[in-house]
């Protein structure tokens, strides 16, 4: 779709040691804490976690949509192999944001400008980022995008209030698609919608992915719906990435104790298993505990958990948990802790 850059574009998005801290009156909030993350081309990753785990902040850090109270913003972000952290704000705005990476914001249905016709809003990114487009050509592209996401053409010149929630959501997706970006970040795209509308939007996103090979990053707390789009799953907890795995293996058997408990809390339509909840609350990001941040709520906790665990590689999956440390004999650590608590 877009021209490839010189360095190996194996990963559409790659972050190294990404940090985003906010300054508040109570202290520094460590919203995104040293996150390493890779997204291969044409894949969709879902970032799941409870509210306040830093998943939306992670998206903001990648898109460099920063509020004023940033305390620390550091690390590396690579888009198609290009280090986009090195760009200045103006260049980032011109070349990256919405040209190569776009966003469907949280509650996108309310994110549209109420006093502009939807066609003008959807065309705007194209007119700004690509000066070769005339207004008429841009409108043709808008029409094409509307067909794509399933908005009737007669809605082109309506105002947002004349559309239903599902239609507005589609318009927001059309706006994210119009510049044919490499990566679309979707922040809770369906959480405010009805089930049928939700299924419809997911169908639209799937079709776009299959037909254009666009990569997605879907940020959500709705684990069940996230499986509609996921090739990979990344679990965030208290500002850190704690597990990153292929969707096929993750939905069968998550490894990190937090991910396991999160999955056990997802209501299933049928079946008899009892739901479980995770006791306690996530730690405050103002002053997070040293060591593993989930330790206080973890049934598998053992001595080692007082130290901060690194990311361990287990059969190609990444898990930030001491249970998956192998010793010299290749035996996993925390065997005693596991034995006491067979999962």
């Amino acid at each position: 779709m877009n021209g490839q850059t010189s360095s190996s574009p194996q990963f559409v998005l790659k972050t190294e040691d990404l940090v985003l801290y906010f300054r508040t009156t109570k202290g520094v909030v460590q919203a995104v804490d040293h996150v390493d993350f890779e997204l291969p081309e044409g894949r969709a990753v879902v970032v799941i976690g409870e509210s306040g785990c830093g998943k939306s902040s992670f998206a903001k850090a990648v898109l460099r949509l920063l509020p004023r109270n940033v305390a620390v913003y550091s690390g590396r972000v690579y888009l198609d192999g290009e280090d986009i952290m090195a760009l200045d704000d103006e260049e980032f705005r011109l070349r990256i944001r919405w040209a190569k990476m776009s966003l469907v914001p949280q509650a996108a249905m309310n994110a549209l400008n109420p006093v502009l016709r939807v066609s003008d809003q959807v065309a705007e990114p194209l007119l700004i980022h690509d000066s070769t487009f005339s207004k008429a050509e841009a409108l043709d592209r808008v029409r094409e995008m509307f067909r794509y996401v399933g908005v009737p053409e007669s809605f082109l010149h309506r105002y947002p209030f004349e559309l239903s929630g599902g239609m507005r959501q589609r318009v927001a997706i059309a706006m994210a698609l119009i510049t044919q970006p490499r990566l679309i970040i979707l922040d809770e795209p369906t959480s405010a919608l009805d089930v049928l509308t939700q299924a419809n939007i997911m169908n639209v996103l799937k079709k776009i992915k299959w037909e254009t090979g666009t990569s997605y990053m879907l940020i959500t707390h709705d684990v069940a719906t996230s499986s509609e789009l996921a090739d990979e799953v990344a679990v965030m907890y208290a500002g850190q990435m704690v597990e990153n795995a292929d969707a096929d293996v993750f939905f069968k058997e998550p490894l990190h104790p937090y991910a396991r408990m999160l999955m056990a809390a997802v209501p299933k339509l049928r079946g008899d298993e009892d739901l479980e909840f995770i006791p306690g609350q996530p730690p405050s990001l103002l002053n997070p505990p040293t060591g593993c941040r989930f330790a206080a709520r973890c049934p598998f906790r053992f001595e080692k958990c007082d130290e901060d665990p690194p990311m361990f590689l287990v059969d190609g999956r990444k898990v930030k948990c001491w249970l998956f440390e192998k010793d010299a004999q290749g035996v996993y650590g925390g065997a005693a802790a596991r034995a006491e608590n067979p999962a």
Partner: protein
Amino acid sequence: MATMTQTSPAGASTQTDAPLLSVRNLKVWYELRKWGFGLAGYVKAVDNVTFDLHQGEAIAIVGESGCGKSSLMKAILGLVRPHDGQILFQGQDIFAGGRQGLRWYRSQVGYVQQDPFGALPPFMSVRRILEEPLILVGVKDREERLARIREVMEEVKLSPPEDFLNKFPHMLSGGQQQRVVIARAMIRNPKLMVADEPVSMLDASVRVEILKLLRQIQEEHNLAVIYITHDLSTVRYFSERIFVMYAGKVIEKAPTDELLWHPQHPYTLALLNAISDPDAANARKLREVPPGEPPSLVTPPPGCRFHPRCKYAIQGECDVNEPPEFEPRPQHFAACWLYDERYGQQRAALEADKPW
């Protein structure tokens, strides 16, 4: 009347006696005015709904936004006057007793709102929020009020109560806010609880906790509960019967498991098919969704209101005549022409579409 009565454990198990709440041919219609006067028609938000609810029973009302479930709820809470039909509480029409009667009725009904933060006044402490309903029913003694508040807070697991009494809503997490809302609903020992999407604004892990808490409270107090939701995946954990609403009508009623395993109405089937259980295979297939959107409630389509979106619709029947209620399986009612004995063939097509 002003004193607080404990729910009597007697009659707890006997469901055969008179229903606690009885809704008869209820119509909630909103007037549409032209130029501010002249009647231009009605928005028929709830059209001819009838059901009984017994002490100790939990029902779920499921439907998409705009299907009329909130209007039904408002009528049951006594917040809107029905256009026609009756709501009987313990055999008495709730609107017959005037302001006094309505006031008493509302003390018998607890209401759990959808958005806990929006439902709690930001300038009141938890203590003040919970005290107010007691002052309104005339509990004069401060200590008595406080004792009751402590009791309820322990019950919703806001313990120790002292840690929360002087906090304001913004100082609490979403789960704690919802517990305060539940405590407020329970403080006058109601007989009926109406819960409007009580967990939809909460995180997955907290959601389960709150659902379990509600279930526990319901069982302990033998409460009748009306649980309103659009999310069929949580109803199994909470209710005995499900009513499915579409465009102002109840189109299917059945016991919970019966409905989840043997949906009879095409709309219910579509709803169930649209819900995902976490499974990586979901990403590789498209979901079948009925086309279009729910109809306007001002001029609903003739015949069955779902027929324009229904792939099993029978020409000359579904688009002309309103379907009566059939009982295709015991205790399972569906308002759909497919269950008329003349249409066995069309019914087979629906049966073939059940993927499990």
